[in-house]
């Protein structure tokens, strides 16, 4: 075609950055590394903006035919065999455009932030090459035009997160966390793969367009079992792994072992939302499998609530955010489950803003107090680090759903859609909203208000965190390079919600998800308002409760905890899920393989059989040797007997005929 968008640039730019830093980084200076990393991620972002602008506003005839989305660009052959093929080809529509902007944008900001955060880390270049590598895979995932290419990104981001979680690999916990993340994701991918096989088997292709064309004529399945239901549920399994939903969420909290920017980028803003994106992308299939949709909704709802409750009792600032992330993802899946894909994506975007901000803020806090992550050792920081405080409080308001910040819009949208399907979802959603605002403000108060409970920061507190040079005396504000991204994100969290004003966002995505849901029926405007009020009040309540417990009466929480006793412990220990998994899956598997399979079957049965037969042969051999008594007469005896047999045989043969 005459002109195209060179979509292949998106993945390849960060890849180039990753390659350069990975190969030359060790030798070159920090400055050089920084330039490379920022240049390539920034370039991707700028290109994304350019594409967006082009799509939105260009009316240049030259671009006609290019810009009417969806738009596919073939790059190269990948796998081609008789009856099946998958290519490197990129697919751009409104959905992937949104993701594109979010990923490159937030990603770029976090790159900038990391420059400050990781400056003193000995393996600075390694970090950035990993980060760029992540961008590469994430963009591949977003832009893929077939499930297999998507799977590359899917597994690739898993790899990147494995590497980044285990970035400080000398810490065993970090290494294990990375491994855990990868393996749990693999379990999800298992489901994903099976889904792909089903698709291949029944549609002979993995290209989105072909698959969806194949699917769309099929009637919506009502029954429990059914091809599309199976496919959807299997895809959902994959999503559960990637987006940390029940039952595969366990890896995300551990993932906080990674450097904070990583938590912000991968485990809040982008990678973990890949599941949502994938479900939304496959909405054509899901919409025809109501059972599957229900499953998605239920999983989402439960996860939202469940994770939120755990969030209450956590004291590690990043852990709190991690569980809140899980819970927010739950919201997104709830949205998809009720068919409100655009709402889900909307929340995905806003969440990327404020949750990214929260993590970066937390990072700045940790940075300030020299690596301390336990909120009980913080407090009263707002005077030390005002900027961080300001931005983080904005984010908190946003996530808590206080209008008119971003979170309010998207969450409210979801709750409203959920209500339309079933009040139950809505109910749980609201309760969750309450809890959310409670623990978020709890975090805020514990961290910034009251008076500083932490010891004087000594230079080497966060040894593993690798910044050891500074940390003089009292907590200190972060450098500008870290604050700027905070501020930008804060602004976005403030105003980001307004794109949803009057269903603009929905309209924008309508070509993808179909126009059916855009027409909000005027009749139920009232209910919508009512619900909105309810959720806002609930959020306010949560705030108030947090204020009460953690600002006015800081002694209360302990009392309450004591009174709750075991239940509280259960929360603190995250419902003992890790322990249960360890007891039910991990241990039996390892022991069984060792005792039964390896020592048992392999050694005691198969190998023993082999060796025994060898010994048997040797014994037989000994028997045979006994013939050789060395006595001539015995030998003669053998010969005589033998000859008798021979004679008898021959005569018998002769007489026989």
């Amino acid at each position: 075609m005459t002109a195209n968008l060179n979509l292949w640039l998106f993945p390849l730019l960060p890849l180039a950055g990753a390659a350069i830093n990975g190969v030359l980084g060790k030798k070159s200076s920090r400055r050089a590394v920084t330039t490379i990393a920022l240049f390539f991620s920034g370039a991707a972002f700028i290109w994304a903006v350019k594409v967006w602008l082009a799509v939105m506003f260009t009316r240049d005839p030259r671009w006609a035919g290019v810009l009417d989305l969806p738009h596919t660009e073939f790059f190269a052959h990948w796998i081609r065999i008789t009856g099946f093929s998958a290519d490197f080809a990129f697919y751009l529509d409104q959905l992937s455009l949104v993701m594109l902007l979010v990923v490159t944008g937030v990603g770029f900001l976090i790159h900038i932030y990391s420059v400050g955060y990781m400056w003193d880390d000995p393996s600075y270049s390694r970090f950035f090459s990993y980060l760029n590598l992540f961008m590469f895979f994430m963009l591949t995932l977003v832009l893929a035009n077939n499930y297999l290419l998507m799977f590359i990104g899917w597994e690739g981001v898993g790899l990147a997160s494995y590497l980044l979680i285990g970035f400080w690999f000398t810490k065993d916990s970090a290494a294990s966390a990375g491994k855990k993340a990868f393996i749990v994701n693999r379990i999800g991918d298992f489901g994903f793969l099976i889904a792909l096989f089903l698709l291949i088997k029944h549609f002979g292709s993995l290209d989105f367009e072909q698959v969806f064309q194949g699917v769309s004529p099929l009637a919506s399945e009502t029954g429990e079992a059914g091809l599309l239901t199976a496919i959807s549920i299997l895809l959902m399994v994959g999503a559960c792994g990637k987006s940390a939903q029940i039952p595969l969420y366990v890896w995300l909290p551990d993932a906080m072992e990674g450097p904070t920017p990583v938590s912000a980028l991968i485990h809040a803003a982008t990678m973990v939302t890949a599941g949502v994106y994938m479900v939304a992308r496959s909405h054509v299939i899901f919409e025809r499998a109501p059972t599957a949709l229900m499953v998605v909704a239920i999983i989402g709802t439960l996860t939202a609530f469940f994770a939120a409750t755990i969030g209450i009792a956590q004291t590690d600032i990043k852990k709190v955010l991690a569980y809140s992330t899980i819970s927010q993802l739950g919201y997104m899946f709830m949205a998809c489950g009720v068919g409100a894909f655009s709402a889900g994506i909307f929340h995905l975007m806003t969440h990327a803003f404020f949750k990214g901000l929260l993590f970066l803020g937390a990072g700045s806090v940790i940075h300030a107090v020299g690596g301390e992550q336990d909120m009980r050792k913080m407090g009263g920081l707002k005077s030390y680090i005002p900027w961080t405080f300001l931005t983080m409080s904005i984010a908190t308001l946003a996530i808590a759903g206080i209008p008119p910040l971003a979170g309010f819009w998207s969450k409210d949208e979801i709750l409203w859609k959920a209500y339309q399907v079933s009040p139950v979802y809505w109910g749980i959603g609201v309760v969750t909203a309450f809890i959310t605002s409670f623990y978020m403000f709890r975090l805020l108060y514990m961290t910034f208000f009251g008076d500083y409970r932490g010891a004087q920061v000594d230079a080497h507190r966060h040894g593993s965190d690798g910044h050891d040079s500074h940390g003089h005396g009292e907590p200190h504000e972060s450098p500008m390079v870290m604050l700027v991204p905070l501020m930008i994100l804060a602004v976005l969290s403030l105003v980001g919600g307004f794109v949803g004003w009057g269903n603009h966002f929905e309209r924008f995505l309508a070509p993808v998800f179909g126009a059916g849901e855009v027409t909000a029926e005027a009749a139920s405007r009232v209910t919508e308002w009512l619900l909105m009020i309810v959720s806002v009040t609930v959020a306010a309540l949560g705030w108030w409760l947090a204020y009460l417990l953690y600002y006015q009466r800081p002694d209360l929480p302990q009392k309450i905890a004591n009174s709750l006793g075991s239940f509280y412990q259960t929360l603190v220990h995250k419902y003992y899920v890790d322990e249960i998994y360890a007891a039910v899956f991990v241990k039996p598997l390892v022991d069984g393989s060792t005792r039964i399979l390896w020592q048992g079957v392999d050694r005691k049965i198969i190998d023993a059989a082999v060796n025994d037969s060898a010994d048997g042969a040797r014994h037989a051999s000994d028997e045979v040797r006994q013939m050789q008594s060395g006595n001539i007469r015995s030998y003669a005896g053998w010969i005589a007997a033998g000859s008798a047999v021979v004679i008898a045989f021959m005569i018998w043969m002769a007489v026989g005929r």
Binding site: H77, W78, I79, R80, I81, T82, G83, F84, L148, F151, I152, W154, E155, G156, L159, Y162, G166, F169, T170, K171, D172, A174, A175, S176, K179, F182, I183, R186, I187, D189, F190, L193, I194, L196, F197, L198, I200, K201, H202, F203, G204, L589, V590, G592, S593, T594, L597, W598, V601, D602, I606, D607, V610, A614
Partner: protein, 505 residues
């Protein structure tokens, strides 16, 4: 002159250049350095020659190419008949690719009886290539048996503590396995009057073989047993861990990289090619064995305290994929099987080289002896990670393509096969990453490991090509599949109705 004019004799060249090199090597004085260099040159020359095959290969065309067919013995009617199709060609290239790397990886680690070592290595290469190139059943068996001795000697002479036990076990296992194949081959000759693969195949297909119906099942089993031991399939695999643990690095590389492929190649070429009917009838239990191999091998690998044993069992698991793919009789399955063969050859070969690097420095394979190696030897750690990821089957690495195709093929054949097989991708991640963590992450547990030097030149030259190949094969599998696909298509011709399933409704 254009190098294409070599085509008629290229296979002979590729096969026998290493042997000639070995013979020359015998005459060379015992100056280790010269010997190493010479061996390297010979193996590289072979590699370059073998590149002729893919370069001038007519990809679209399914049949055998570069054929050479001369009578060797008049009665019995044995022909020197060689030729490659898309299937065997890549295995030849794989062999010639791995051998120079074996020479390099042995550069420093072998310091006594160097001459014998490289002579054996080169002889082994000739035998291996011969196995893949020969189209005359007799010739095939000839090379097949010929691989035994050098391998057994490599293990037995240059191996570690229990080398003798391992060598003898390896030898006897394979020997006894293959005699049944000999019997089957003899039967075929007796009733077709030819050893020529193509001739026999056509005669069987046209039903012109007296008493075939009665014997077919036994013939199938005769071939199958020989190959199953070599692969190795589940109950016949116990020679593999011992052989690997005791073998010198180069030995392990060729053993895992190529020797095991002889088995799968045999299944693909002969069991499928000659006895399609029986193959289909027996597929169910063969695939079951393969599945057991996949899961069982992985689980056992997971709990191995010894790095080489772990890799060995992982081979059992991976080769299970190959067999699964072959007996799914689907286009995807066979393509995948072929690709897994190549991928496994590269990545597992690489893993063994890396394990060997550790052994050279610490003389142990016990995982517990290491830990936190990423600090003292970062380059090593990075290379190791790449190979591990390739072996785990990460997309864009060679492992993924094959496994994906195999599993999708198996799934098309019977869903449950695909599903059970797909658990393999979880297991592989578990045992390899766990091993990697125990070896490289955490603090350095044994002080002695702090002083371990990073990769040296020859090791880099040996390992990095593997990593590169793993990557290229993952990104551009089309280069390989392009030639494999038509051959596989032809191989599946007798299974027409099965093939049709691939395209779907």
């Amino acid at each position: 002159m254009s190098t294409e004019s070599l085509s008629p004799i290229i296979l002979t060249l590729v096969t026998f250049v290493p042997l000639a090199g070995a013979l020359l090597l015998m005459l060379l004085p015992r100056r280790d350095r010269d010997i190493r260099v010479f061996a390297l040159v010979v193996s590289l020359l072979t590699f370059v020659l073998s590149l002729h095959l893919p370069v001038y290969f007519h990809r679209a065309q399914a049949g055998f190419q570069y054929q050479i067919n001369k009578q060797w013995v008049s009665t019995p009617n044995i022909h020197y008949h060689m030729g490659v199709d898309g299937i065997s060609m890549w295995l030849v290239v794989l062999t010639t690719f791995l051998t120079p790397l074996c020479v390099l990886i042995s550069w420093k680690s072998i310091h006594e009886r160097v001459k014998e070592f490289f002579i054996l290595l080169l002889i082994l290469e000739t035998a291996l290539i011969g196995v893949f190139t020969s189209l005359d059943l007799f010739l095939f068996y000839f090379f097949w048996e010929a691989t035994l001795i050098p391998m057994a000697l490599l293990i037995g002479i240059f191996g570690h503590e229990r080398k003798v036990y391992a060598a003898v076990k390896f030898f006897m296992y394979t020997m006894i396995g293959s005699v049944f194949m000999l019997a089957a081959i003899l039967w075929l000759y007796a009733n077709t009057g030819s050893f020529d693969f193509v001739v026999i195949r056509d005669k069987i297909a046209s039903g012109a073989v007296p008493g075939f119906a009665a014997a077919a099942q036994w013939l199938f089993l005769g071939f199958f047993l020989a190959f199953a031991v070599k692969v190795p399939l589940f109950p016949f695999h116990t020679w593999l861990p011992d052989a690997h643990v005791e073998a010198p690095t180069a030995g392990s590389v060729l053993l895992a990289g190529v020797l095991l492929k002889m088995g799968t190649y045999g299944l693909l070429r002969f069991n499928l090619g000659l006895f399609p009917e029986q193959s289909r009838q027996n597929a169910w239990w063969v695939m079951t064995l393969a599945l057991i191999g996949i899961i069982y091998g992985a689980l056992v690998a997971m709990v191995q305290p010894n790095m080489k044993k772990l890799i060995a069992y992982s081979s059992v698991s991976h080769l299970g994929f190959v067999v699964l793919g072959i007996f799914s009789f689907t286009q995807a399955g066979l393509n995948g099987a072929m690709f897994v063969m190549l991928a496994h050859g590269i990545s597992t070969g690489g893993l063994f080289m890396l394990a060997g690097v550790l052994h050279d420095r610490r003389h142990t394979y016990e995982i517990s002896e290491f830990g936190g190696l990423a600090l003292p030897m970062p380059v090593y750690a990075a290379s190791y990670l790449v190979i591990v990821l390739a072996s785990v089957g990460l997309p864009l690495m060679n492992g993924f393509i094959g496994e994906f195709l195999v599993l999708s093929g198996a799934f098309q054949d019977k869903a449950v096969y695909g599903i059970l097989g797909a658990t393999g991708i979880i297991w592989s991640a578990v045992y390899l990453l766990w091993m990697y963590q125990r070896v490289f992450y955490g603090k350095v547990t044994h002080p002695v490991n702090n002083s371990m030097g990073d990769l040296i030149g020859s090791e880099k030259m040996a390992i990095w090509p593997c990593a590169a190949a793993a990557l290229v094969m993952g990104v551009a599998p089309i280069l390989w599949l392009g030639a494999i696909d038509p051959a596989v298509h032809a191989a599946l011709a007798p299974f027409a109705q099965v093939v049709s399933k691939v395209v779907g409704p």
